[in-house]
Each structure stands twice: as structure tokens, then as C-alpha cells.
Symmetry: none
Subunit: 191 residues, 4 copies
DNA sequence: CATGAATGAGTATTCATTCAT
DNA sequence: TATGAATGAATACTCATTCAT
């Protein structure tokens, strides 16, 4: 009895997700050029051919991995902090605490964050994205109530996430490295 | 009639420096894995063989390029600011102004800075280096006179240079990107 | 549907053996340095990449080829002559006849013999090997019954195989060259 | 004052001889393909360019080295033994003693002998040469007086020199290896 | 003639991708 | 779909030879 169309789609989706999930650490640690398909598939536990069933090319896989990481990060509680009914300065603290705690505790969180921020932090993309918008709106709010430094909110948001990015990179390369404290991280916003 | 020993030494020195100098932008833009020896030598205007007269391997070249960039940055006026007879806060300002102005004006300064900071910023090296020591001593001084935020000076110095690094990366990938202002950069130190 | 594990193992085994088998003549004729991977793979009828699926490097392939040739030679009837219930002098004659006949008739036998003896004959190895042990024991036996010249049996065995080696080389380079007769070859042992 | 034509010729000859002399060990140890011009010239203590003043190519140098080695060996006392007024068996002994003693005592004698015999021993040349003729005539003489085994004298001479060749190779690769004794060597002739 | 830096064709090796099973 | 052997274009590196000085 052949599988139904839905079952097939589900299985396909699961396989694809498994590959994306496990690819993240390779791209995070070694970049696109530094990641070898042979190592990757061996690490994942699939054949090289299987990869090309789900992805057209290494480049394609990498792009999907970036999207996957962005969605993972954005689907976290992170975005919910923006809607809490507390002053901007508290929101910022919740976010900083959350990120730094996760970076400290979950190795994979660093990989996700690194890849989620990669293109923007390196100046390769200016596209809108939820993380950026989140921080921008909090900064505007905080500037209005006087608790944050004046200045271009978009620029400051980018500053904030750039710092998060570079510390994700550090943590990814050296898991024992010391992270910033929340108040250190917040300096870039609060001035 | 052969060239004199000095002539040869000079030719060798010049060739090696030319290679190092011109390699910087390739490694800064593309990293080690992304830099192809064929492109590199074509860009420099030498044969592939010539490269291997001076460097044992691509990896070797890359390491020498990193050192070269570090020395270039450290040989700038940058280190002299530390010895000026002004308060720490003024030294910091001179340094911030200097770096941001150079990053803005000279494309190659970004390449040098990026490579000079690369290993440390990515958590791949903890070795002492002049830039790091410079900032650490200024921070200690500023903490003593109360103008900078308290905290581990080494950690704060690393924070500062990490920000300089990531903005060098941005500038390298997108020459038109907007840089931080000095006071924005200084936030990570002043709190 | 993927091949079964056994099918793959068989394919691998066959491919590897095919490469080893066909490489022999290249290394026998041209040595390691004189053998070009491009020529070799073209001659075998495979891509260059395929070679590196089975062997780590040219050096590695060469070493495996040496072993393969040794095993091939040692798996021949050659070793069985030692156990026959005849005097040493007859064993020696059987062996001499066998080797010289095969050298004469099968071009590939010369390649195998050449490579099997290569390292020992050139003074690059003193390891025990079946051919050497075979001859040593026959020599000891023949010395005991007085039919062979006195002297260090190991040294005499090496002498014998050295002569076989150099005539294999000759035959490999000049297929029309005249070989020794058995009694000429046996002189080194019989005195 | 420019040098006279003769002086120039003499200097040229000396330089060339020096190169030939010192090249021998490289070709003896590593063969043509295994000998790198860079190593060779460095070892000799001349520039790479200088080599091409005297020799057209590596191949050319190698051929001249072979000739040089042959002449060196043939200019030794070796050839004089043939004219001594003693039985063939004594001549053979003188020659065997002489060769084995020189091989034992002078490392460079092995290199010369190896190269002098190289092409013939490997079946790459059938040209007449003095060593070969020397042995052939002694063998014929010994066969006439009944002290040597019957058979084709040319073939036996080749056999003799092949053994000398392979033991030169051994000695060259492993200077501590044990050589044959004269009577062992003579077996191939005496039967 | 001598030097040694430079060349570039040649060579070994890698790796993303394909394809028969 | 899944496998992994095979491909071949790309890549790093070598080395005999040339040439300006």
C-alpha cells in the first residue's frame, strides 16, 4: 500500500528539517567554503546523494539553513518580550538576559544566532527582519521615555545585533569564552 | 654578472611585501577557503610559481598576511595616543576618531584592521597583542579617574576591539555602509 | 533503491583490485616518480577522482601495489615446491624452471616479480617475506645434504632473489631479452 | 686582460667536471625522475642557471653523467687486469677483489659503478662497452682452459655485471649492507 | 659566465555533483 | 527516495627552464 500524498510530504519535510538542523553547526563553525559536503553528510548520517534530493546545491542548502536559523531564533520567546507591558528598559533587559543565558547554556543557540545574524552583521543584507524590527521599536520607545541614548534607532539596533553576532561567533569557536553581562551588552543602546 | 647580494635581498623583500600587501584584500574579502591562489596571483600580477618562492603554502601565506596586517595597524599612530599627556577619555576619543576616520577614508585600512583583529575577535587566539594592551591600559586609567565604567579592563578591551572588528567587516563588504560615530563606539567602554 | 551492502563491498573490492592490477605495469616500468597519475588513470580507464576513493595518495597506491604484487607472487605454486618430498636440488630446479618459464611467457609475471622484490633487492627493506624464507630453507637443506655451496643461507637467498630481480627488470624493459637458464640461475646457490 | 681561449676552455671544463662529479650521487640515489634540479644545484653549490650554461637539460646532464661514470670506471686499473699474464681465473679474482674492495671502501665507487652499468643492466642498452668486452674476453679465455663454465660468453658477462650492478644499488641505498665475497660473485662465471 | 627570481606547463589532489542501482 | 561509487572541473602546488642583471 503506497503512502498517501500527505504522509510522503510529511516524511519529506522531516528529512529536510533533520538535515537543516544538523547542518547548522557545520556552517556556523566553518562558513560556506569551509564546509565540505562529505564531512557534513557523514556527520548528519546520510549519503551524499540524499542531500541532493532535498537541496539543489550547497549554496541552496546554505541559504535554507540561514532562513531556518532566522526562523528558529524569531520563533523563540524573544519576540514576545516586545509586547509585554513594561518600560523599554525592562524589555531590553529581558532580551539581553534571555540571549546571554541561552548562549551560555545551549551550544546550538549560538549556531542559530550566528547564522541568523550573519548576513546582516557582515553588511551583506539590509532586508527587514523580525529581530531587527523588534530592537528598533524598543529603542524608539526607550528614546521617547528618555532611558536610552538619542540617535538613529535603526543604526543602534544594528549596533546591538552586531555585538550579539560577534559574541555568538566567539562562543561558537571557543565554548569556554566569557560572555558579556546584560548591562555590558546594553551599553550600546543605553549609552 | 650576477646581482649583488643586497640587490637580491631587496628584490626579494619587495616581492614578498608586494604579495603580502596585495593579498590582504583577498583574504579580507573571501577568507582563507574562499581565496583562490589562481585569482590571487592573477590579481597581484605574478605567476603561481612565484608565490611559492616566498610562501610554503596558502595557509602559510595567510598567517603571514595576518601578521603583516597586525604590524601595519600597530605601526600606525594609533599606539602613540597612549603616551600623550591627556586624560584617558581624550585618548579614547583620539583613537576612536582615528580608527573611524581611517575606516571611512581608506578602503585598505578596513582590510588591515579586519585581518589584524580576525583571530582574536573570533575567539581563536588569546595571545597578547599591542592593540589589546593599548586599550586595556587606557581603560584602567579611565576607570581610575572615574570616567569609564567599572569592570574587567581586559574584557572591556576585547569588547571594544570586537566592535571595531565587526564594523571593519561591514565596511569591507559594503563600502557605503554607515559607520558608528566615536561616541557610539565609546559606549562599550564608558558605559 | 540502494545497492545492498554486499553489492557495494563487491564493487569496491573489484574496483580496488582492478586499479591495483593495472597499476602494476606502470610502476614496474616507470617507478613511482616516473608514473603520472593522469596516465595511470587514463590507462586504467577511470577518472582521477576514482583513484582517490581507494587510495590516499600516489605513495599509498604504490605501497599497496608492492604488497599486492608480493601476495600475488607468493600465492603462486612457488611456495608449494618447498613442501615436496624431493631433495633440495630438485626443489631449486622446480623453482628456477617455474620462475624463468613464467617470466618468459607472461609479461605481467615480470611486473609482479619486479615489484615483489623491489624493496628488498634494492636494500630498502630487510623484512621477512615468504619468498626469502622459502629459498633460505631450501638452501639450508641443500647445504646439509652437500649439494649446495656452504655459506650464510640468508645471504645466498638474497643473492638468488637479487638475480631474479635484475632479470625481471631486464625483461620488463626489453621483452625480447634472453633470460638465464635454470642452471645458470642456480649457480649462485650451488657454487 | 681577458683570459686566453685555452684558459677559458680549461675553466669551462673544470666547472663541467665538478658538476658531473657531484651529480653522480644524486642520480645514483634517486634516478632521473627522482632527482630535482633544485636539490642538485643546492648540493653542488651552484645556481640553477649555472647548470644550464653547461648542460642543455636535465636529460642531457644525466646522459653525460652516465658517460662520465662509465669512463671513470673504465679508466680504473680494472681494464689492466685483462692484460696481465696470468690465467683467466686469476684475472677474474683480481677483478672481483678489486670491485668488491672498492665498493666496500669508497662510497662514490658504488655510485659510479651503478651508473656505469645502469642502462645495460636494466636492458635499455646493448651497446658495446669496455667493461663488458673485458669480461667477455676473460670468460672466453677461462672457458678455453676449462676453468669456467661453458656457455655464451656474452651472456655470462652480462650476468656477471648484472650482479655487480644490483649489489652496487644495494650498497648505494644501504651503505652498511653486506657485500658478496669474491668467490660468491665468481659463481656466476665459474658455475 | 654566474646568479637566482620568475615563469608556466605539468602534476597531484579535492570536492560538489551525478547516476546506476 | 536512498545509496555511495564515480566523475571531472577546479585547485593547490612543483619543478625544469629562462632571463634580466
Amino acid at each position: 500500500m503506497p503512502r498517501s500524498r500527505e504522509q510522503n510530504a510529511k516524511i519529506r519535510e522531516e528529512s529536510k528539517t533533520k538535515i537543516l538542523q544538523k547542518s547548522i553547526q557545520y556552517f556556523a563553525k566553518n562558513g560556506v567554503e569551509g564546509t565540505k559536503i562529505g564531512d557534513l553528510t557523514k556527520g548528519i548520517g546520510i549519503s551524499q546523494g540524499a542531500l541532493y534530493v532535498y537541496f539543489q546545491s550547497k549554496e541552496d542548502l546554505y541559504n535554507e539553513v540561514l532562513l531556518f536559523a532566522q526562523q528558529k531564533i524569531a520563533s523563540e520567546e524573544l519576540l514576545q518580550f516586545a509586547q509585554m507591558d513594561v518600560p523599554a528598559i525592562r524589555k531590553l533587559r529581558y532580551i539581553s538576559d534571555y540571549i546571554l543565558k541561552k548562549l551560555q547554556e545551549e551550544k546550538s543557540y549560538g549556531y542559530h544566532m550566528l547564522l541568523a545574524l550573519e548576513r546582516r552583521a557582515r553588511g551583506l543584507s539590509k532586508e527587514d527582519d523580525p529581530l531587527f524590527d523588534l530592537m528598533k521599536s524598543i529603542i524608539k520607545e526607550g528614546q521617547k521615555d528618555g532611558s536610552f541614548a538619542k540617535g538613529n534607532a535603526a543604526k543602534t539596533a544594528e549596533y546591538f545585533w552586531s555585538v550579539v553576532y560577534i559574541y555568538s561567533v566567539k562562543k561558537c569557536n571557543d565554548p569556554k569564552c566569557e560572555l558579556l553581562t546584560s548591562s555590558e551588552l546594553e551599553r550600546v543602546v543605553r549609552g
